[in-house]
Symmetry: C2
Subunit: 286 residues, 2 copies
């Protein structure tokens, strides 16, 4: 199986590792605008060969794991080159713009729109890890626009990766993911900013930070090059989530100013339900 990974970073690299483990005879071709990453991926044995669009006609599977602004530009070009029986799937964190970018492409049926919900705050091929996708959700959009055999080929790969499949339309994906992913990133970045700004002259104050602070600012280590275009493509939903989040913070602040500690207690007590909700996620079940 000839697998091309376009964008050989955390996601593409981790997929390549898992695919190689499950398919010892798979040959992984890496394509990346970053030559250093390509060399790293080769040295780390994540890819078997550096490649380019000129060889894409050889591909049986193409994984496109690049920032979503590049995705909308590159996917049509990739579909121009590959054969009609080649599976092309993406790993973009937005789905509306990406699906629209290829909706009228003559080779649309070779493409499966995916969002594997998995990652870490790190990036590049050195961040690639084994079993990153095990028990994680993979959201597939507009499956009816993908050729049935191609869809089946993708499901076989996702099964090897251990993923749980969810089908959803791109609009629902983009709306919900704004709440359960994009908002978390902004809350974390702005928390980090608030504290860095305040404590800029007192670096050693971070010595006082416990694991709770670390946990809430972890996502502020994420890549701006990856996240800026995600916020751009999902602008309307993200603005909505931010407005609701800010309203809730304002309300909490007012309760505090008004010494309304019963309401503060109740707010926190109601939100404690998040425990059961998180425990209900299959990936969290032991």
């Amino acid at each position: 199986m000839k697998v091309f990974v376009i964008g050989i970073g955390l996601i593409g690299g981790s997929m390549a590792k898992d695919i190689k483990r499950s398919n010892p005879r798979a040959k992984i071709y890496g394509i990346d605008t970053n030559e250093v990453h390509l060399d790293e991926a080769l040295a780390l044995n994540i890819i078997d060969k550096k490649s380019s669009y000129g060889e894409l006609n050889l591909a049986e599977v193409v994984i496109v794991s690049i920032p979503v602004n590049a995705m909308v530009l590159e996917l049509p070009k990739i579909l121009d080159i590959v054969n009609s029986n080649t599976l092309v799937f993406d790993a973009g964190s937005t789905k509306g713009n990406i699906c629209r970018a290829v909706e009228n492409h003559p080779n649309r049926s070779s493409f499966l729109a995916c969002h594997p919900i998995s990652g870490t705050e790190f990036s590049g091929p050195s961040a690639a890890i084994d079993k990153l996708f095990d028990r994680k959700a993979n959201i597939i959009c507009e499956v009816d626009k993908t050729n049935e055999d191609i869809h089946k080929k993708a499901l076989d790969i996702f099964k090897q990766l251990g993923m749980r499949i969810r089908y959803m339309n791109p609009e629902a994906h983009d709306k919900h993911i704004a709440y359960v992913s994009h908002l978390s990133h902004i809350s974390s970045f702005m928390l980090g900013k608030t504290v860095i700004e305040k404590e800029k002259n007192e670096r050693d104050i971070f010595d006082m930070a416990g694991s709770g602070f670390e946990s809430t600012v972890r996502l502020a280590k994420s890549s701006p090059a990856m996240w800026t275009p995600i916020f751009e493509q999902n602008k309307e939903n993200v603005v909505d989530t931010l407005e609701e989040y800010i309203q809730n913070l304002e309300a909490f602040k007012e309760m505090l100013k008004n010494d309304d500690y019963d309401s503060i207690y109740n707010e926190m007590n109601n939100t404690n339900r998040i425990k059961e909700i998180l425990n209900g996620i299959p990936q969290n079940k032991k």
Copy 2:
């Protein structure tokens, strides 16, 4: 060594476990208003004996790990009973109110005001774990008001627990801890609330949540009974941090509304410095 732990939950219980391991001859007496917790602590071998204020005159060391609203009421009573050579220290997350509550107590010099920066989102004696305090910071306030021998006795215990000591005045503690701890809890609770409210009719949407969401809402599992009085006692500082956080979120939202993606990129890029800052914390060094 007779050690009394008043409030035998996550913090008091974890301290008891470490002290017993380092001092096999230490006898741990547990005092708690929650009889179930006392029985649990006894069954878990965290304490050796259930006790009450009536026996506090026997104590060589008293650890007070109760919610900060109870702390300001109980500490003076405890200092009334113990001998003048008994070490009493607290583990409260605020320091101004607690120090003021005992400032004129005739036995003030037996007391050491402490904040061990360690914990998890869980509570109760079953949440107690070994080595919770290893390499963590312990903020000591108003050390000059504590008897020197008593201070030394405390340092010996903290050394056994593996803690790093920092000295600070209560006002500085309360101001900085609002940024690196209290704000994180509110941001997490309000993030949880925003998402639960939005998705209340679509519980299975949480299936889409990845590890990033989990990380940012982890603190929303925390105990409202513990946190409400912390916010009350540190109200002014917490309101300040909330105002700055909300301003930063508003500014981010405006950039997004204005399609100012260069500024969004720069904001995130600047905040990426949190990586180096977190790596600089001694507890994070390998």
